[in-house]
């Protein structure tokens, strides 16, 4: 079920909210669990069993770990849990990748499994693993109530596309949390803003991307429009989803951590990755990079650790070579920044550092978005004038003009300009009153407009559902 669908907004949510706020506190987790299972079941009926199995695995293994602290059995349980989780992920997500590559390498003819990817498997697998690891490390208390753990793992606001909420972040809130009008209002505001980012901006940019890649007459402008539109689309799509997840969480009394922090204003790629998909970055940092040794030891082992982490970050996103290249591309740039680029960058004017980051990121998303390496090469050649095509033509100008306003809004929207404007406004009592008065009107208008777009549109995929 999509957050940005009429059935979710106008049918599923009202029913869940009604049940959730009507039942006594001790039944709230049960309502959330059943709602989450229904949410998953409606979209992915066959694989709901995997979600339940994954929950049982981590519940039982963490109990074993807790009972055998300091003994080899605890470590064995941890390893067993990790192997089972990664096996599930590997089987469903990576089988065909390995079979295909073995066939290509050894001229064999093993049949591909062609299994549909269970919705959100990359996200919920990482969440369940984080729970067991944290219990093993004693960084999170054991959840003895299976209902509590199942509620955490299946929690529908963040189940299928993150952010990757670690158990320790909401451990206390699973057992006891508060609800208030302020939390509810904040959650609604955040949800509507995320919904608007997704439906009013990301979907429009997605259309521009589709137009640009399927244009009849290619031009350099079309290649750039496609690359920029996708780079902005994926940001508004994914950060919009995260906003909706955080907002829904807040309505139910949970405080999820932020997943994006205006990544496109970064002045280096290291900074970009501290602002982009923060929950994934910190997951890899805490559960892989640091255990590997992090930046301790020689430069060689440091760079080895970076390459391993970024190889796996790319691979996590998809079972194709382009994702691996994409991950390694960032790994290499991060190494170069640490070696000498950062020293060069700090001497450059801010605007030039932004251009550097945007260029690197836009190119990265060309790699990310094309599974065919030949298409990546063609796109990059097209962008940098290496094909015999005009700079622009009537078709590209038509669509650039048609989408100019939405591009302008999305570029400004990717910066903290609006947020800072509102914060400045809130410093004066008069403008604070005006802003507070206007806010519900603006949010309602956005919701109505989103509804208009949903009712009239068929283009509504979530990009991160692929992972």
């Amino acid at each position: 079920m999509l957050f940005s669908s009429i059935s979710f907004i106008y049918y599923f949510l009202p029913i869940v909210f009604s049940l959730y706020f009507l039942v006594p506190a001790k039944y709230k987790n049960l309502v959330l669990l059943l709602s989450s299972l229904a949410f998953y079941f409606f979209g992915e009926p066959r694989y709901t069993i995997i979600l339940i199995f994954s929950t049982i695995v981590d519940y039982t293994h963490s109990l074993i770990i807790d009972k055998n602290r300091g003994r080899p059995a605890a470590k064995l349980a941890l390893i067993s849990s990790i192997i089972i989780n990664l096996s599930i992920l590997g089987f469903f997500k990576y089988s065909d990748f390995f079979i295909g590559n073995i066939n290509a390498l050894f001229s064999t003819d093993f049949a591909l499994l062609q299994l549909p990817l269970p919705l959100g498997i990359s996200f919920f697998t990482f969440q369940t693993m984080s729970y067991t690891i944290d219990v093993y490390r004693n960084e999170a208390g054991i959840q003895k109530n299976p209902l509590g753990l199942a509620t955490y793992i299946t929690l529908f606001p963040q189940l299928v596309a993150g952010p990757i909420v670690r158990y320790r972040t909401i451990a206390e809130e699973i057992n006891e949390r508060t609800h208030s009008f302020d939390l509810f209002a904040y959650g609604v505001r955040r949800f509507v803003i995320g919904l608007a980012k997704k439906v009013l901006i990301a979907n429009q940019l997605g259309q521009l991307y589709q137009i640009s890649v399927s244009a009849q007459s290619s031009s350099v402008l079309f290649y750039w429009m496609a690359a920029i539109a996708f780079s902005l689309q994926i940001y508004f799509d994914f950060s919009g989803y995260s906003d909706m997840a955080i907002g829904l969480g807040r309505i139910f009394g949970f405080h999820f951590l932020e997943n994006f922090n205006y990544p496109y204003i970064s002045k280096s790629i290291s900074e970009f990755w501290r602002r982009w998909h923060i929950s994934l970055g910190t997951w890899f940092k805490d559960y892989l990079y640091i255990p590997l040794g992090g930046n301790r030891g020689s430069n060689l082992s440091w760079f080895r650790n970076i390459i391993i982490v970024w190889f796996l970050t790319g691979f996590w996103h998809g079972a194709n070579w382009n994702f691996i290249i994409w991950g390694l591309y960032f790994g290499l740039i991060l190494i170069l920044e640490k070696l000498f680029l950062n020293q060069v960058l700090v001497k450059l004017p801010h605007w030039l550092r932004h251009v550097y980051v945007c260029l690197i990121v836009v190119i990265s998303f060309v790699i990310f978005n094309n599974e065919d390496l030949a298409v990546i090469t063609l796109s990059l050649k097209g962008m940098f004038g290496q094909l015999s095509i005009p700079i622009f033509n009537a078709e590209s100008i038509y669509f650039l003009r048609s989408y100019a306003v939405i591009l302008g809004i999305s570029i400004i929207g990717a910066t903290p300009f609006a947020r800072d404007l509102i914060r400045r406004g809130l410093q004066s009592k008069t403008s604070e009153k005006i802003i507070n008065g206007l806010e519900p009107v603006l949010l309602l208008s956005l919701l109505l407009l989103v509804t208009g777009y949903l009712v009239d549109s068929s283009f509504n995929p979530f990009l991160y559902f692929r992972f």
């Binding site: 979209g43 078709e395 003009r401």
Partner: protein, 322 residues
């Protein structure tokens, strides 16, 4: 239950929820207004509104489709029409008349025509482009207006050597309003609706229409103008009851035994009731709904004039032909 387990239930529910959403038209209009006035997009759902006229972007030219179309009708000619006098006319879609506008994307009509000229064999090509203008089309619909087809009829009279002086036939004009054309709904805007006018003549009143899809009482069968369709989903269906694979119009008062077979799309529905003045029988075949291999079982082509009359909208999407 099966749909629930396959995940189809949610898709069906989503679709129904969208279709039945409260104030659906108003929400669609809100979106269209924002697209037009705030985002300044050139089109909404591919519908471009310029003044009172709505256009659907028909871009780009699909050269493969044009070649496929030519090959399709050449094969059909080889199959059935060896001894027939065959004519071909392309109806320009209304975008043709605004193609020079800088904020409009149009297919390359010159190239389309050149491709047709190069590949269509064994038939007389009739040029209708300058017999029409933008005002000859409905504002909110892709079709041409029957009441504005004098230029087309005159061009056909010249090229097909017809004897009827269409301009001198006694006619009663009937009107229906409001006519909300196909682009009205797609634009989602409050466009001014059109008026449908249709010409009732003695021949059209007496004509006997046999529609292969009509299953009711033959005595109650609609004539060339099916007025029950007015005010329904598509009022343009007043002309020959709308889409059908095969329909014949017989003129019992005809002084000749001339027959005409029209391979056509929906544009011909409004032209045929006027052409019946010239013929004893007109057969209209819509190859979107019947395969060319089967049509020989139902139609005798011998001795008939044959007219291929297709809009550029079909030529550019010829995979629709069976």
């Amino acid at each position: 239950m099966k749909k629930l387990l396959t995940g189809d239930f949610l898709g069906d529910f989503d679709e129904a929820a969208l279709d039945q959403f409260i104030l659906r038209d108003q929400f669609r209009r809100l979106k269209a207004r924002v697209e037009n006035t705030i985002l300044h997009k050139n089109d909404n759902n591919d519908i471009v509104v310029r003044g009172d006229d709505a256009f659907k972007l028909e871009y780009p030219l699909n050269e493969e489709s044009v070649v496929r179309f030519s090959s399709y009708i050449n094969t059909l000619t080889d199959m059935y029409l060896e001894d027939c006098q065959v004519y071909f006319a392309m109806i320009p879609d209304k975008n043709y008349y605004v193609q020079s506008s800088s904020d409009f994307l149009s297919m390359d009509y010159q190239k389309l025509e050149a491709l047709l000229h190069d590949s269509i064999k064994g038939m007389t090509l009739i040029d209708l482009k300058d017999a029409l203008s933008l005002t000859d089309y409905y504002h909110t619909d892709p079709h041409w207006k029957q009441e504005n087809l004098d230029g087309v009829l005159e061009r056909l009279r010249q090229e097909m050597e017809l004897e009827t002086d269409f301009s001198s036939i006694a006619t009663t004009v009937k009107r229906f309003a409001p006519f909300y054309g196909a682009y009205y709904g797609q634009s989602a805007l409050n466009l001014a609706p059109d008026t449908i006018e249709y010409r009732v003549t003695k021949a059209s009143l007496n004509a006997i229409v046999k529609n292969v899809e009509y299953t009711g009482d033959p005595d109650q069968a609609p004539g060339v103008y099916d007025e029950q369709k007015l005010g329904q989903l598509d009022s343009y269906d007043v002309f020959l009851s709308g889409s059908t694979p095969l329909v014949t119009i017989e003129n019992p008062d005809s002084k000749t035994d001339k027959e005409l077979i029209i391979f056509r799309d929906s544009f011909a529905s409004s032209l045929a009731p006027l052409l019946i003045e010239e013929y004893q029988k007109i057969t209209l075949i819509d190859l979107r709904y019947v395969s060319r291999e089967l049509i020989g079982d139902f139609v005798d082509f011998e001795g008939s004039d044959v007219f291929f009359l297709y809009s550029t909208l079909i030529i550019n999407h010829s995979d629709i032909l069976k």
